[in-house]
């Protein structure tokens, strides 16, 4: 279901109260005009699945953190920040997954330039 960015936290709480207590994955797709963040949720008792889609603009993308609702969202949000450059608000700054990755633009965006050297080791 499509969710606006402002209604994300409320929808996530509702889902958790309805029984969708297992977070499967948080991922994102870069369609060049917009950036779509997907949350896959599952209800372990009935086996139902639900997907929340949040559409963001590619410039200054940011999404609130759902870590206090689903504990498993911690590392997935770190990966979002690193690979897509999406800022996560409402939690302490996520530690980067690849340690010495500073100074490079996010790789999984479509405007990533191959073959450009970057300063990673010093």
């Amino acid at each position: 279901m499509k969710v606006e960015k402002e209604a994300l936290l409320k929808t996530a709480e509702e889902m958790k109260n309805k029984g969708f207590s297992y977070l499967v994955k948080i991922t994102a797709v870069d369609n060049i005009s917009s950036l779509v963040v997907l949350y896959f949720l599952r209800n372990l008792n009935t086996g139902e699945e639900e997907t929340l889609e949040v559409e963001l603009s590619p410039v200054d993308a940011s999404v609130p953190s759902i870590m206090h609702i689903y504990k498993a969202a911690d590392w997935y949000e770190r990966e979002l920040k690193e690979m897509f450059g999406i800022e996560i608000t409402g939690r302490s700054a996520p530690r980067l997954l690849l340690e010495k990755w500073n100074g490079i633009e996010p790789p999984l965006r479509k405007n990533f330039e191959w073959g450009k050297p970057y300063k990673a080791m010093d």
Binding site: V24, F40, L44, W75, L98, E99, F112
Partner: protein
């Protein structure tokens, strides 16, 4: 046994460096200790990141198949089968019936081989020097030789094609499979009695790193770790694929949730896989099992967004693919080792330092899958 230092509040940080004699891969743990009790564990990953998801966008569907196999090198058949299923769903190709049974046979053989490797390296981590490792690898080698007969390679079998396999099994394959399974079935009780009557093994695994079922669901763990905490969830029975429902598959669940329960779940899964392979061979219909050969020009994809759920030996794999014309536009893997490793700090809190490696070994991590 052993009390933490009281009242000081000062902790020591120990670095378990990226290169260490365990065989998971390259993982760095910064362990914060208060005396002998673990206060916090911070895993640092990223030493094996190659950008697989980005590289796969630049190639076409068939060229991506070897990339997917190198994600999890302990059970590559499971990942390559999941990827081919995703492409088949995108293009709208049906799998032939004999090929479905054959895929189940190959997948379950791969599961037995993967659990045997886990057994050997887990006991190495506990400090048992290479005895069970040698036994388990001798058994695993028999299975690898079987898979080599069909696919031609020991480790990276690129033998899945759209709608089936690359070729049918050679004559005499079924008898060899049954004889190898008979050998392994005689050895599993030997492993169990050797380990479960050993006081040191029981003390090092019972009661260590226990999590309740509610906590396991909260942390999002998957696979044998989830089933060892009493949660009855297995993709092969909830979202059944191929012929698992015809073969009466039952998930194996243990309820204690500690390291011993995870070991027990994997031994039970090995026995269940042996039974599944025997049933599949008995019910396999004659016919054609060969899929489409590799072509560079393929029809346009029918479904744009595809989701495939599979049960690999480590846990649940989800491949979410946005299909492009010649190759994937975006592929996203939800690897089971990623989320199991993220749950490690919570599981290991409060344990002794020596128990950290028992817990780490019981989670069955493969680090290149964590940072693809």
């Amino acid at each position: 046994m052993g009390q933490a230092l009281q009242g000081d509040g000062l902790t020591t940080k120990i670095n378990v460096g990226p290169i260490h004699p365990s065989t998971h891969g390259v993982l760095r743990l910064v362990v914060e200790l208060d005396g002998d009790e673990i206060v916090n564990v911070e895993p640092h990953i990223g030493f094996l990141h190659r950008g697989v998801e980005k590289l796969m966008e630049t190639r076409n569907y068939m060229q991506d198949l070897p990339y997917v196999e190198k994600l999890d090198y302990v059970a590559p058949e499971a990942y390559s089968e999941a990827y081919i299923s995703a492409v088949e769903s995108a293009l709208g190709v049906e799998v032939k019936e004999r090929a479905q049974y054959l895929r189940v046979v190959l997948l379950e053989l791969q599961r037995i081989a993967s659990h045997l490797l886990w057994l050997g390296t887990f006991l190495n981590d506990l400090g048992h020097f290479f005895t069970v490792f040698m036994w388990a690898f001798a058994d695993r080698d028999k299975i690898l030789r079987l898979l080599q007969e069909h696919a031609g390679a020991r480790m990276f079998y690129v033998n899945m094609r759209l709608g089936g396999l690359n070729r049918d099994v050679p004559p005499g394959f079924e008898e060899e499979v049954l004889s190898v399974l008979g050998d392994i079935e005689k050895r599993i009780p030997m492993y169990e009695s050797y380990l479960e009557k050993n006081e040191i093994f029981m003390e090092r695994t019972k009661g260590i790193g226990a999590i309740s079922s509610h906590r396991a669901i909260e942390l999002g763990v998957t696979g044998p770790v989830l089933r060892a905490s009493g949660v009855n969830f297995d993709i092969r029975s909830s979202k059944s694929y191929y012929v698992y429902d015809k073969l009466n598959f039952k998930p194996q669940v243990v309820s204690s949730g500690d390291v011993f329960a995870r070991y027990k779940v994997r031994m039970l899964e090995m026995k269940e896989s042996i039974r599944l392979v025997r049933e599949a061979i008995r019910h396999m219909p004659p016919g054609d099992a060969v899929g489409m050969p590799i072509r560079l020009i393929i029809p346009a994809p029918k479904n744009k967004e595809v989701r495939v759920y599979r049960e690999t030996p480590r846990g649940e794999l989800l491949i979410y693919m946005v299909a492009g014309q010649q190759g994937p536009y975006r592929v996203s893997f939800r690897s089971p080792s990623f989320i199991n490793l993220a749950a490690l700090p919570e599981i290991a809190k409060g344990a002794h330092y020596a128990d950290l490696f028992a817990i780490l070994g019981s989670l069955d991590l493969v680090i290149p899958d964590v940072d693809r």
